[in-house]
C-alpha cells in the first residue's frame, strides 16, 4: 500500500469561533468548550492598496491562513510551492456576475471577471507572497480538502519539496446559498516538508482506505466538519492539537477515504 509521509512545519487556521491556530488548537484539543461565532476575516495587509480593495472573502481567508502557517513554520512564503483546495471559489463574486448577466445590462466589471476564476486566491497569494514556484488549484466538491492534501503530499513525496497546502471555503449569498449551503468561511493552511527538522510539529502518513470517515463527538464541531468542505480537515486538526499519536480517517470520494497517521514531533 502506498504511504505518503510529510512533516508539518506550520499551521494556519481561521473559521467560525477559530481565530488562529494556537487559540483554535486549545478548543480543538477540548481544553475549553468550542463556541461557534461568525468567522472574522482580516484585511490582507500584504497586498498593495489597489489590489487589497478588490479582494473578496476567499482571498482574505487564504492570505490570512497562508501567512499564519508560513510565519509559524519560519519559512519564506516566496519559496514555497502551493496547493489551493476549494469547492467553490468566491461565492459573492459569482452571485454578482450571474445577477448582472441576467439583467438588461450585461456589462461586467473587469475586476469582477478576473476575480471569478477559481484560482483567484492562488493568484493573489503569489502576488502578496512574491511566490513564483508552482501553484496548483484543485476542486473536488465535498472531497476538496482530501484532494488538496493528496495533491500536496504527492508533491512533497515525489518532488522532495516543501509545499504550502491551503484549503478554503466561503459561503454563497442567496439564492445560491439554498443550493449549496456552506454556513461560514473556513480556512486551514499546512506547511508540509519532506524531511523532519528540529522545528517540525508532527509527522503525517496518509494512505487511501475504504473505511468510513471519522466524525467528531462535539455536535458543533461536527456541524462545521460536515457542512464546510475545508472543515473536513477538523478530525486531523484535532489530533494535531492534542499532540497525541493516532490514526484518523478523513472524508474523500464515494469509495475511497484518506487515512492519516499523526504523530507529534515535539
Amino acid at each position: 500500500m502506498t504511504r505518503l509521509t510529510a512533516y508539518v512545519e506550520g499551521i494556519g487556521l481561521l473559521g467560525p469561533g477559530l481565530n488562529d491556530w494556537p487559540s483554535g488548537a486549545v478548543l480543538l484539543a477540548g481544553a475549553s468548550p468550542y463556541v461557534p461565532q461568525a468567522t472574522v476575516l482580516p484585511t490582507p495587509a500584504a497586498l498593495p492598496p489597489a489590489e487589497r480593495r478588490r479582494t473578496g472573502a476567499i482571498v482574505k481567508l487564504a492570505l490570512a491562513v497562508g501567512f499564519e502557517a508560513t510565519s509559524r513554520a519560519g519559512m519564506s512564503p516566496a519559496t514555497l510551492h502551493s496547493v489551493f483546495a476549494s469547492s467553490g471559489g468566491d461565492g459573492h463574486n459569482c452571485h454578482e456576475i450571474c445577477q448582472t448577466l441576467a439583467s438588461n445590462d450585461r456589462q461586467l466589471s473587469p475586476t469582477r471577471f478576473h476575480n471569478s476564476v477559481h484560482n483567484a486566491a492562488a493568484g493573489y497569494w503569489s502576488i502578496a507572497a512574491g511566490a513564483t514556484p508552482s501553484s496548483n488549484v484543485v476542486c473536488a466538491y465535498d472531497a476538496s480538502f482530501s484532494a488538496g492534501l493528496l495533491e500536496a503530499l504527492t508533491q512533497v513525496v515525489v518532488d522532495r519539496t516543501a509545499v504550502l497546502l491551503l484549503a478554503c471555503d466561503v459561503s454563497y449569498p442567496e439564492p445560491l446559498h439554498a443550493k449549496r449551503s456552506i454556513p461560514d468561511a473556513f480556512g486551514v493552511a499546512l506547511v508540509l516538508a519532506p524531511e523532519r527538522r528540529e522545528s517540525s510539529l508532527a509527522c503525517l502518513t496518509a494512505t487511501l482506505t475504504d473505511a468510513p470517515a471519522d466524525r467528531i463527538a462535539d455536535p458543533l464541531l461536527e456541524a462545521a466538519r460536515s457542512s464546510i468542505p475545508a472543515a473536513r480537515s477538523l478530525p486531523m486538526l484535532r489530533m494535531l492539537a492534542r499532540r497525541e499519536p493516532g490514526r484518523v480517517v478523513i472524508d474523500y470520494l464515494d469509495v475511497q477515504r484518506v487515512a492519516v497517521e499523526v504523530s507529534a514531533c515535539r
Binding site: F113, G123, Y124, S126, T132, C139, A143, S144
Partner: protein, 403 residues
C-alpha cells in the same frame, strides 16, 4: 522524469469531432471560428462553437450532470474509442488504480446563468430543476467522467484558468510516481458561457475578427470550447512506433498581476526551462512549439520574449487558436492532442488568420503548414493569476524508450 505514455487520446473542438476530423482540418488549414450566434449573446465577435453539443443526451442515471459542459464532455469521450480504451485500462489496472484529473475554468456555469433568469419573482429562489453539484461546481466534469467511465480512483478538477488542462498532466504524474495510481484519464472540458464572453469583453481582450496570434495587428482572443482527453499510463497497454510520451513538465507562477502576464514572461521562461530540464533536453532538440498564443497584444509579446530567451528564435512555432479559438480551461489538453498529432504525422500546423507577423517577438511563426521530422514538441499554457505550465512531448520507438 520518467516518461509517461499517452496510449489513447482524443479531441473535439470547433474544427472537428475526434482525431480524424481534427487532423483533416489542420492539414487543410481550416478554421472553425465563426461570427458569434451563441445563446442570447449580443457581442460583435467570433467564437469556436462545437456543433450539436446540446443534442447530446446524458445517460438516465447521470441526469443530475446535465449541462452544456458535461454534454460536451460526453461528446468528446465518445470519439476515437476513448471510452473503450479507458475501460480496458481499468480492467488491466483495477478501477481504483485509474485516476481522473480534468481541467475546466467555468464548468457548467451556463446553467446558473440561465437559472438566474428564472428566479422566483416572490422569493428570488432559483428553479427547483437547478442542480448545483452536477453542473455549477467545478468538480462536476470529473465527477461525471469518473461515473460515466465507471472508475473509482482518485479524482480532482484542476481549476487554474487557462493553464488548467495542462497542469492535470502534472497532477497525474505525481499521483503515478507516488504509486497511488497506474493510469489516469487527463484532459480538459470548457464550454461557451456568458461569463467568459462578457467577461473577456469587459477586459477589452476579445477581437471582433477571428483572432490573429503573433500578428502586428492582433487585437484579442476568440473564445472557443473543447473537450480533449488522454489516457496516461506508466506502462502502455500497447506500444506502437508512434506512441506519444509526455517527457517533461514545467510549472511556475508569475506573482505579478491577476490578468496580465509579466512583460518579459519571467514565469513563462521558468516553466519552459523546467519542462526542458525534466525532459533532459536541450533547447535545440525541440522541433516545434505550440504557443499559448492567445492573440492579445500583451500575452503574445510576453510569450514571444520568453520563447526567444529560452529556445532562441529558430524554433518553428504556431498558435492553433486561430483554428480552434481559445478554449480556456480545455486549451492545454486540446493543444497537447494537437502536439500528439504533430508528432505522429510529422506535421507542424500553421497559425491561421495571422498575416503580418510581429518580427519583434522572435518566434519562427508558421503561416503555412510545414512537413518535416517532428520528434519532440513543447506546448505552452498560461492563465489568469499568473499560472504557467509547459509540457514536452515526444515519440517513442520500439522498446518503449523515448526517441
Amino acid at each position: 522524469m520518467t516518461p509517461l505514455f499517452l496510449t489513447h487520446f482524443t479531441a473535439t473542438s470547433c474544427i472537428g469531432r475526434g482525431l480524424e476530423e481534427t487532423l483533416a482540418a489542420l492539414k487543410a488549414q481550416r478554421t472553425g471560428l465563426a461570427a458569434c450566434a451563441f445563446e442570447t449573446v449580443n457581442l460583435d465577435t467570433h467564437i469556436g462553437e462545437v456543433s450539436g453539443v446540446d443534442s447530446e443526451r446524458l445517460p438516465a442515471g447521470l441526469q443530475e450532470f446535465d449541462c452544456r459542459n458535461n454534454r460536451l464532455a460526453q461528446l468528446g469521450l465518445r470519439q476515437d474509442g476513448f471510452t473503450e480504451a479507458v475501460r480496458n485500462s481499468a480492467r488491466r489496472w483495477g478501477r481504483q488504480r485509474v485516476g481522473v484529473f480534468l481541467g475546466t475554468s467555468t464548468s457548467g456555469i451556463l446553467e446558473t446563468e440561465l437559472a438566474y433568469r428564472h428566479r422566483d419573482p416572490a422569493t428570488g429562489s432559483l428553479p427547483d430543476s437547478f442542480q448545483y453539484r452536477g453542473t455549477h461546481n467545478a468538480f462536476s466534469v470529473a465527477d461525471f467522467a469518473r461515473q460515466a467511465l465507471d472508475l473509482e480512483g482518485p479524482a480532482a478538477v484542476v481549476c487554474s484558468a487557462c493553464s488548467s488542462s495542462a497542469k492535470v498532466f502534472a497532477s497525474a504524474r505525481r499521483m503515478m510516481a507516488a504509486g497511488l495510481i497506474d493510469a489516469a484519464v487527463v484532459g480538459g472540458v470548457d464550454s461557451l458561457c456568458l461569463t467568459t464572453l462578457y467577461g473577456f469583453h469587459s477586459l477589452q481582450l476579445v477581437s471582433r475578427t477571428p483572432c490573429r496570434p503573433f500578428d502586428t495587428g492582433r487585437d484579442g482572443i476568440s473564445i472557443g470550447e473543447a473537450a480533449a482527453f488522454a489516457l496516461l499510463e506508466r506502462v502502455p497497454t500497447t506500444l506502437e512506433d508512434d506512441t506519444v510520451a509526455l517527457l517533461g513538465i514545467g510549472e511556475s507562477s508569475d506573482a505579478y498581476h491577476m490578468s496580465s502576464p509579466h512583460p518579459d514572461g519571467h514565469g513563462a521562461q521558468a516553466a519552459m526551462l523546467q519542462a526542458l530540464e525534466t525532459a533532459g533536453l536541450q533547447p535545440q532538440e525541440i522541433d516545434y512549439i505550440n504557443l499559448h498564443g492567445t492573440g492579445t497584444p500583451s500575452n503574445d509579446s510576453a510569450e514571444g520574449r520568453a520563447v526567444a530567451a529560452v529556445l532562441g528564435s529558430k524554433v518553428p512555432g504556431s498558435s492553433t487558436k486561430g483554428a480552434t479559438g481559445h478554449t480556456l480551461g480545455a486549451a492545454g489538453a486540446l493543444e497537447a492532442v494537437i502536439c500528439a498529432l504533430a508528432l505522429q504525422h510529422d506535421l507542424m500546423p500553421a497559425g491561421l488568420n495571422s498575416r503580418d507577423i510581429d518580427q519583434t517577438l522572435g518566434v519562427q511563426y508558421l503561416l503555412e503548414n510545414r512537413r518535416g521530422r517532428v520528434a519532440r514538441v513543447m506546448s505552452n499554457s498560461f492563465g489568469f493569476g499568473g499560472s504557467n505550465c509547459s509540457l514536452v512531448f515526444g515519440r517513442t520507438r520500439p522498446g518503449g524508450r523515448s526517441e
